[in-house]
Symmetry: C3
Subunit: 267 residues, 3 copies
């Protein structure tokens, strides 16, 4: 099993830039533009395709699929299932972002169902991780996390067992776990929470990494590291959340191995 | 009845920053990202939740609800009604943005219906205010206002009577009225009209204020003042509408009592 | 037939700024915000109105209509047909953007159907042009073009014959053709491909031009020239795709005849 270090994370980035994988997104309205731009900036080719009439057929063209339940509707759920079916039929990996799971019964049921369909990675904040594991659902409040990474540790381990997925819990320190390995990424900046949908961007970047990297644990770690490093550089150079959102795309587009080596805080 | 002045408007802002109220938005596709970012910048916690299957349940968690009819559909109208029902059941306030009312018969009927459901505030431009009051509907053209604030004055007074809401009419000078009080806010910059959806941002900020301020007249005045002040600073420092949109978020995030005191033009 | 040169392209821009035409968009979720902002920046009045219940009625108010199939759904297709019907009933021109045609059977069928309804202009990349002409559909991969402008030349000529539309194929060099004329526009910058939806922005700007310019060949050439010139200036002054997207709006808003005359590369 290869060691995960800065060189490996840079190598996955180089593969994305070389192969320009087609990443299909069935995602929420809030972030369709911003995550498409993040995927382009990192070097992937995004497609926002969710209609039940074509999501499965399109997924057979895609190198990976991103499923994000932020702004759900019955029609989008059908599109999510179709895209997952298409990806599975082709053997392409997919990543699940269970936005706001635990906030309403309907949303929780849909997230629970999707989690059983074989995602390679589930990317969530601490509250969502706890809710998806079936614990302390009353603690979820809206879409922002009220729990800490430590609270989510046991829940993530539980989800690895029940879903077979790599679990990537983002927060002040991101943590990626599978059955055997744990990676902690201490990059990023607290000001990133003032920009909507950067959790969704994390999920999309994991989707890009999954498209070129068969080890889902490595892919998840790489995607979170890219965002954390680009985000902390952007935050340091920004006057506020508007500038941060813009500069983040600039930094993702110019991210390289030397910057990753200099900044990665992985343990 | 407390006087509205810069100190009061700053106090409402401080409450938003302290309490981080959960503001549920059933809003249009054009502004989902930009208004979520504006709400985060001012210190609130936005959630874009509109599915009929969960909008009412979610509203029972929310501190206020924003209903914006910009890009209507039958499904969204059902979500709007559900969210309003949830908010009313909990006693949470909600604000209505009747975007483009008067442009089509269907849109007008929906806006008319929503206006009867007890919004704490209706935020509209002059043309929309006139159309919602049932006057001169033929004057509406698209979603941008062709009428002036003066034209809308009588219509706003009429709407106070028929809806019980505080009416906030935005334009070169914003005007907020309830049955007894009138506030005029002369902040803002004409260049703000070149950025899409800043009227929707005004409504969302009023929603954040309503979540912490029980006097809807004060809340509406505060929300419009925040946007006008941040917007005029952003416009003065921008090379065009792209920069303005970015800098507006930076300015909302750093807005403070001293800036409000120095710049507020309230009468 | 008037010559197309920088002065003519500037004259169309001046007409947009003077008349502020109402441009109705039935477009995709990814670009609703960015194309509304581009239309405002160029001087038009955008309206994003797609509900089947009102799209036809609204189109009778509009000066032109933009139909973009990026994120299709059954409901949006109904809205597209309604808007086209409304525009045709009034004699207003409309432009079609067949995003991703060829990627799935459903999407291709819808694009084929829309193309028969009399668009004044079809704006597409090379792969989409080839797919819409019924050639080499297997070559389409996602929504980004894998074909070159040269490949698309014959297909564009074929589409002129089958649809009666002016065909505007964008790429490294944009090419506009009708039955008798060909214009090539060598403005723009390769870095524009790193921003999502700038092809959709091209289509929207063509829609603004169509609203004031009865010669669709001139309108298509003008719209592409505006974007190419503003885009190359923005790219030259940007640190990456985030900055480019912001600066593009600033440049569209300040574009003038002198800049067009100095930079236009039209043949």
């Amino acid at each position: 099993m290869p060691t995960i270090d800065a060189a490996r994370i840079a190598a996955v980035l180089d593969l994305v830039r070389t192969r320009k994988p087609l990443v299909q997104n069935v995602t929420n309205f809030v972030v369709m533009n911003s995550t498409a731009n993040a995927l382009l900036a990192i070097g992937a080719s995004p497609a926002m395709v969710h209609a039940p009439d074509e999501a499965a057929e399109f997924a057979r063209l895609a190198d990976s699929v991103v499923i994000n339940i932020g702004t759900l509707s019955t029609e989008f759920v059908a599109g999510m299932r179709a895209a997952v079916t298409g990806a599975r039929g082709k053997g392409a990996p997919w990543v699940l972002d269970p936005v706001g799971v635990g906030a309403t019964a309907w949303r929780t049921r849909i997230a629970d169902d999707l989690a059983t369909l074989g995602p390679a990675v589930i990317r969530a904040n601490a509250s969502e991780t706890i809710a998806l594991a079936g614990r302390a659902r009353a603690a979820t409040r809206g879409v922002d996390s009220t729990a800490t990474g430590d609270d989510a540790h046991d829940s993530a381990a539980l989800l690895v067992g029940t879903t077979g997925a790599v679990i990537a819990v983002t927060g002040a320190v991101d943590r990626v776990v599978d059955g055997a390995r744990v990676a902690s990424i201490a990059n990023g900046d607290a000001r990133m929470a003032q920009v909507t949908g950067l959790g969704c961007t994390a999920t999309a970047l994991v989707g890009a990494a999954l498209a070129v990297e068969p080890d889902a644990f490595v892919a998840a770690t790489a995607g979170l590291a890219w965002l954390g490093i680009a985000g902390e550089i952007a935050a340091a150079g920004s006057a506020g959340p508007g500038s941060l959102q813009v500069k983040l795309l600039d930094e993702l587009a110019t991210l390289d191995g030397a910057t990753i080596a200099a900044r990665l805080r992985l343990s």
